[in-house]
């Protein structure tokens, strides 16, 4: 994060006159750990009757450069949950290794009490909160999909501050602005989850991914999709967004090379 408000954007000089920035701090400590470097964009997920579907594209951006195009941002945890990561990729790798070591420790004894997605979400949210409290946050917004202790579909999010939020459909990053309205229209609050089929959920996610590919400049048309049901976890990587139509782009006005 940029800690200098002077660079956050300010009123136009030609309209409002020169800005008096004398009160702003212009120097300060460097905070390398407080800015993400290689990042992933949105993760989106929907609960359906008997499970959860979750998707993310395969891109890791370096600033505005599409640096890595085969990045798996959906990480499978045991046979219980899928964690979708947006935000810093190296922090994602750290968390992935953390979960891996926890999985090994949990399986030292075969007591049969496996961690479920809900346990995992609680754990991750506390890791994130601890790190933000040390002023050294893990720069991620994660979605955890799976089942809770009562074998009901579970979907919840946790962000870099340790804030948790749960809903029948969730999205991080740009998706929170672009995908959530679509998902709310498709799956309004009054429509019970029991009426949403797996196919409905997957179709909706693909639709959202396409809109994100159209409108999010840090996104990619290659994506991964995971479906978690009681039968198990099914992950499809290297999927391609199909049936693209850029006709709408002609009608967009307000930026670019248009003169009209």
């Amino acid at each position: 994060m940029n800690h200098f408000p002077g660079t956050w954007g300010r009123p136009r000089d030609d309209v409002y006159g020169p800005y008096d920035s004398s009160y702003l701090r212009s120097t300060g400590p460097k905070a390398h750990t407080q800015s993400p470097a290689v990042t992933g964009t949105s993760v989106i997920a929907v609960k359906f009757n008997g499970g959860v579907a979750i998707a993310a594209d395969n891109l890791a951006s370096y600033g505005s450069l599409a640096r890595f195009t085969d990045v798996k941002r959906l990480r499978v945890f045991g046979d219980a949950a899928v964690v979708g990561f947006s935000g810093d990729v190296s922090d994602m790798q750290y968390i992935d290794r953390l979960l891996e070591s926890m999985d090994i420790r949990e399986n030292y004894s075969a007591h049969g009490n496996q961690l479920n997605a809900k346990n995992l979400h609680t754990y991750l949210s506390k890791v994130l909160y601890k790190r933000r409290s040390e002023f050294n946050p893990l720069w991620n917004h994660i979605l955890v999909a799976g089942f809770d202790g009562e074998k009901k579909p579970f979907l919840s999010s946790a962000d870099l501050l340790g804030t948790t939020f749960s809903a029948p459909h969730l999205a991080t990053g740009f998706g929170a602005h672009l995908a959530i309205p679509i998902l709310r229209r498709l799956f309004p609050e009054e429509r019970p989850i029991e009426e949403i089929t797996k196919e409905d959920a997957i179709k909706a996610l693909k639709e959202c991914l396409k809109v994100l590919w159209y409108r999010d400049a840090r996104s990619l048309d290659k994506y991964s999709l995971a479906v978690i049901t009681q039968e198990g976890i099914e992950v499809q990587e290297d999927q391609q967004i199909e049936a693209q139509s850029w006709a709408f782009a002609e009608t967009i006005k307000g930026y670019g090379a248009q003169t009209v």
Binding site: A60, D70, V89, D96, R97
Partner: protein
């Protein structure tokens, strides 16, 4: 014992004039009183088994496990002082996890055996400590497939540097036994504890070096060998505990797991039948002799 009264057995790390370290030898004695443990290495996996003597009727059956998982692909069973065994396993887990944190992948079985051997050996060097009262059998499977690095997110460049040899074979089963002196060898079949002599004799009959025994048969043989080794200790009840690690195509997919209950029970039934068969043969033989005398 000739060493008693000579003074050379009072401190660890002190040699006697004829080159023996008595504290280590006494530790071996502690191992010789422990329940028998065996390990069998075959082409497609490793089996660990232990004879768990029931010291009290108040102990819950199936609880107080003696075989431990060290990492996903490694298991350890030890004979001797159980608390020493537990500390040893704890150290093995630390080694396996520190290997992961450095190399971002699972520790090879040979490397783990080497580190644990060094650890045990250090306990023969100082007067402030005593040697481990356990002999441990370490079994595992090194993945034959190329594994993703822990935390890997992409596949990396498709061409360029790397230097991988195409079609190179790697991985496979690993079985090591580590003794109180720190000595360790790799084995096809390993046995330790009270019934080790009988168990070793049985293991030798299996011709493990030819690698013809399948993992499933090895489970049954391991069960039978524990039953055979128990024959000299018949007055005490025991429980059989077994675990296995198979190849990636096998039943455990390269992981160290308990042998499933059905298979364990099947193996135990077969073991009892094999023993009863032997007894009948002996009885018949005895009858034959009587008749001969008449």
């Amino acid at each position: 014992m000739t060493s008693i009264g000579t003074g050379y057995d009072l401190s660890n790390s002190v040699f006697s004039p004829d080159g023996r370290n008595f504290q280590v030898e006494y530790a071996v004695k502690a191992v010789e009183n422990g329940g028998t443990a065996v390990g069998i290495r075959c082409k497609d996996g490793v089996v660990l088994a232990v004879e768990k003597i029931i010291t009290s009727k108040l102990l819950k059956p199936g609880a107080n496990r003696r075989i431990s998982t060290v990492d996903r692909h490694v298991g350890i069973v030890s004979a001797g002082l159980a608390p020493d065994g537990r500390h040893f396993v704890s150290r093995a887990r630390d080694e396996a996890s520190s290997w992961r944190s450095v190399y971002k992948g699972p520790i090879p079985i040979s490397a783990l055996a080497n580190r644990l051997g060094s650890y045990v050996q250090a306990y023969t060097l100082y007067s402030s400590v005593r040697p481990f009262g356990v002999t441990s059998i370490l079994g595992g499977w090194d993945s034959e497939a190329e594994l993703a690095v822990d935390g890997q997110v992409g596949s990396g460049p498709q061409s360029g540097a790397g230097g991988k040899v195409k079609g190179a074979k790697s991985g496979g089963p690993g079985l090591y036994m580590i003794e109180p002196s720190g000595l360790y060898w790799g084995y096809y079949g390993a046995a330790t504890g009270k019934g080790r002599q009988a168990a070793k004799a049985e293991l030798e009959k299996l011709d493990l070096a030819s690698e013809k025994l399948s993992l499933h048969d090895a489970v049954k043989e391991a069960a039978r060998i524990i039953y055979v080794a128990h024959e000299d200790n018949k007055d005490k009840e025991f429980e059989l505990e077994m675990s296995w690690i198979s190849s990636l195509e096998g039943p455990t997919k390269g992981r160290h797991e308990e042998v499933p209950k059905e298979l364990l029970e099947e193996a135990e039934r077969a073991a009892r039948r094999a023993l009863e068969g032997d007894d009948e043969d002996e009885e018949e033989g005895a009858k034959g002799n009587e008749q001969m005398e008449e």
